[in-house]
């Protein structure tokens, strides 16, 4: 643990919290649908009319239907772009069609805001697929997540109504007034620091030293040549050049973080120097991730006329986050005992970051690596600037547990707020049971139907994760993909299903997940994890909006003080631990206790 880490954490939280109020109010303005500055308002009216959008509001069923149709179109287009990219423009490396199962997985992955990646970007996707398929969904999946949060906010703010907003108008306004302008500025700052933005073919350079490597000799049919003794013959290949992947990276990088998407242009994601060249870009990319999720919590409090309610939820998020990331930093600063035993210097000094550096970049060291990965796993972003598969066992467990809390600590754009509100309802429900009163939250009575929807939203994810992991762990096709033996291999599978069902997208990336088995099963987990949570939440919104607003009485539990914040955190941790503790025990905990680690 170092002073640098605590300073970085403090500055990060201070800057983030300073943006909450102004940006939260801005989102309230977007949500209210009030006209923008002259020409923009005229443009909005004309474009929406051109699209056949009428100005009327929808009930929750129509809102959900619009969202599902919109997502279905997106899925089909992303699938088609991947399958047809060979015949489409902007494909300088002439990449062929992506396989059907991988295309299916990736299409769902980007439409559900997961951005799980079974493929390696720079050797699979054409510039057109990246730009017109994947990056577009980075915008639209983020917009639909925020739209659902708008609906739930309206449900609490309104009373005795069925009307909850217009999905098309919300989607347009979120994209045009928030996501696009912020992304544009961020993209240009990223380019100024070295993130690339071009349409060039991959560049060949002559390296200072040639690289040579041995590889099995292949015959004309691509089969290894065998000698008289039946052994494979190896040959030495000398590579005098480096071929450097290019592309329109910065524009995609900006929305990848801002929309909590996380799908990297390159295989190494934000560890790649062209996605994240220095400590400043790292800080900005980190900041962009929880920017909107944190602001929307304020929007909620602002819209219901009691900002204390928003601050209470935000306080719970910040507290859990700060403790978790500190644990993570402590684990990684310790370094790897097995490597330390070989006489390697892992100490933190003025000349090196030290710590567990396998899978981490020199320019980030431990502090900026763990903070980045904690930010992207608490939110549904899932970008990484260091390889979680190579974290220490307890270090790797922290990101996994953060996702398994349902991504409510900041969470995804929109889905984080709705997830946290769902847990707030669970907390007041438990509180109500203790004192024997009907639970209420910010002026709404919480009744049987509401709790049913809440239960579906809370319980679906653990079912997907645990059942999916169980299948992978007993089927040979599941075990075939593991990169590491033993308990660590189990963690790889558990992490994959955790990531998919929570629409996170980060990975213990050693798992070879680009197989029909994993592409299919993880695709289904992502689909259910997104829409089978969103639809119950919209139904909950419909029920809440129809209720009258009841004034707070003497028996109402206040939901803005330290008592409620503790109850909320307790509920979150209790549900998470009850669901996942046995699985943690089989993976990261047993690995930490294994003989090699305790050398």
């Amino acid at each position: 643990m170092t002073i640098e880490f605590f300073m970085l954490l403090a500055v990060f939280l201070a800057v983030l919290l300073a943006t909450v109020r102004p940006l939260g109010r801005y989102f309230a303005w977007i949500m209210d649908g009030r006209p923008a500055w002259g020409p923009l308002a005229a443009l909005e009216t004309r474009l929406l009319r051109l699209c056949g959008v009428d100005d009327s509001e929808m009930d929750w069923r129509h809102y959900a239907l619009g969202l599902l149709i919109f997502s279905l179109i997106g899925t089909l287009i992303v699938y088609a772009l991947q399958r047809l990219q060979l015949w489409l423009p902007l494909n300088p490396q002439h990449f062929g069609a992506v396989t059907p199962d991988s295309s299916f997985n990736t299409a769902i992955s980007f439409v559900t805001n997961t951005n799980w990646q079974g493929y390696a970007g720079e050797s699979t996707m054409s510039y057109l697929t990246q730009m017109l398929g994947l990056a577009v969904q980075n915008f639209l999946s983020a917009a639909s997540g925020i739209a659902v949060a708008f609906v739930l906010i309206r449900a609490f703010a309104r009373h005795s109504t069925r009307l909850l907003g217009n999905f098309w108008k919300d989607t347009y306004r979120i994209t045009a007034y928030a996501l696009l302008p912020i992304s544009f500025v961020l993209a240009l700052v990223l380019v100024s620091q070295g993130v690339i933005q071009n349409f060039l073919a991959y560049q060949n350079v002559t390296t200072l030293e040639p690289t040579s490597y041995t590889t099995p000799k292949l015959d004309a049919a691509g089969q290894p040549v065998k000698g008289a003794d039946g052994q494979v013959i190896n040959e030495t290949v000398v590579v005098p050049q480096q071929t450097i992947a290019m592309g329109p990276v910065a524009s995609q990088e900006a929305i990848k973080e801002l929309g909590t998407n996380g799908g990297g242009f390159f295989n190494a994601n934000s560890a790649h120097p062209y996605e994240n060249p220095n400590a400043l870009t790292n800080f900005l990319e980190m900041l962009a991730v929880p920017l909107i999720p944190a602001a929307l919590v304020y929007t909620f409090g602002f819209a219901i006329g009691d900002t204390r309610q928003g601050w209470a939820l935000l306080a719970a998020m910040v507290l859990v986050f700060a403790v978790a990331v500190t644990l993570l930093a402590a684990a990684e600063h310790q370094g790897n005992p097995a490597i330390g035993a070989l006489g390697v210097d892992q100490a933190h000094t003025a000349l090196q970051s030290g710590g567990n550096m396998e899978g981490k970049e020199t320019r980030f060291g431990i502090a900026a690596s763990v903070l980045f990965d904690a930010v992207t796993t608490t939110t549904s972003c899932g970008a990484v600037n260091s390889m979680i598969d190579s974290y220490t066992p307890l270090g790797g467990m922290v990101p996994m547990a953060l996702i398994q809390l349902g991504e409510t600590i900041f969470g995804g754009v929109g889905s984080g707020l709705t997830g946290m509100l769902v847990f707030a309802l669970v907390a007041v429900f438990i509180g109500g049971l203790m004192v024997g009163r009907t639970p209420e939250y910010v002026g709404k009575k919480i009744e049987s139907f509401d709790m049913k929807m809440v239960s579906i939203a809370v319980l679906l994810m653990p079912i997907l994760v645990l059942v999916g992991t169980a299948f992978a762990a007993v089927l040979p096709v599941g075990l075939a993909g593991l990169a590491n033996p033993g308990a660590h291999g189990f963690s790889e599978m558990l992490y994959a299903f955790t990531s998919a069902a929570n629409n996170n997208g980060s990975a213990f990336a050693g798992l070879s997940a680009n197989t029909p088995f994993y592409n299919g099963l993880l695709g289904v987990a992502m689909l259910f994890g997104r829409f089978w949570v969103m639809v119950p939440i919209l139904a909950l919104a419909g029920s809440l909006a129809a209720k009258k607003r009841i004034p707070a009485g003497s028996g109402t539990m206040p939901t803005h003080g330290a008592m409620f914040i503790s109850l909320l955190i307790g509920t979150l941790l209790l549900v998470g631990a009850l669901n996942f503790f046995p699985a943690w025990a089989l993976g990261p905990i047993v690995e930490q206790l294994s003989p090699l680690a305790s050398h």
Binding site: H62, F139, N278, S353, G359, S390, P393, N484
Partner: protein, 194 residues
């Protein structure tokens, strides 16, 4: 199905806006304001491109500074296949790889008994890390000076000149760019020959 028309037309509209206009405008502005960086921060010697300031290269000769080990496939520092090793901390394959890297460093510099800085024996996350820690650079200074027949002080001065320190003690780590350092060494040799 009154939702189908708005769904289709809004999808087309937003695709054009976010998938074409946005990246093309960013590209246009970037190419005007920051052309060198937007095109990959490529470095040239005598007009010939020799690499990127942001992409690591593989160095194995004793006279060059070595960079971070790279787990890209099929050869190290493959800049069209970025990747980490993804080996878990208790995986015997990781420990074997670290042992092999230690052996290579010791073989190239048998008299150096200092503890080896951890970033010299662990694979980077991208496989393309362009930098090493200052500790890793100073660890190699003696070997490089001997192989190039340069005074040790001159090599150390070059490291100090190329080094980057954390900004405000907050952003970044003490580090040095390996390609820039080796290019500076080559330039130094050219100077000596003159």
């Amino acid at each position: 199905m009154k939702h189908v028309r708005p769904a289709l037309s809004l999808f087309v509209l937003l695709t054009v806006l976010t998938g074409l206009i946005y990246p093309l405008v960013v590209t246009g502005v970037a190419q005007v304001l920051f052309p060198w960086r937007a095109n990959g921060s490529l470095l040239a010697v005598d007009g010939r491109p020799v690499g990127s300031a942001l992409i690591g290269q593989n160095f194995t000769s004793p006279g060059d500074f070595w960079g971070r080990p790279s787990a890209t496939s099929p050869y190290p520092d493959n800049a069209q296949a970025s990747s980490g090793s993804n080996l878990g901390p208790t995986n015997p394959a990781l420990i074997d790889a670290v042992k092999a890297r230690i052996a290579a460093l010791r073989a190239a510099d048998p008299d150096n008994h200092a503890p080896i800085p951890v970033d010299l024996v662990t694979a980077s996350g991208s496989g393309l890390d362009p930098q090493i820690s200052l500790a890793a650079a100073y660890y190699q200074a003696d070997r490089v000076a001997r192989a190039r027949h340069l005074p040790l002080a001159e090599v150390k001065a070059l490291i100090a000149k190329t080094a980057r320190q954390p900004w405000l003690n907050l952003f970044g780590t003490p580090r040095v760019n390996v390609l820039e350092l080796n290019l500076a060494l080559n330039a130094l040799r050219a100077e000596h020959l003159d």
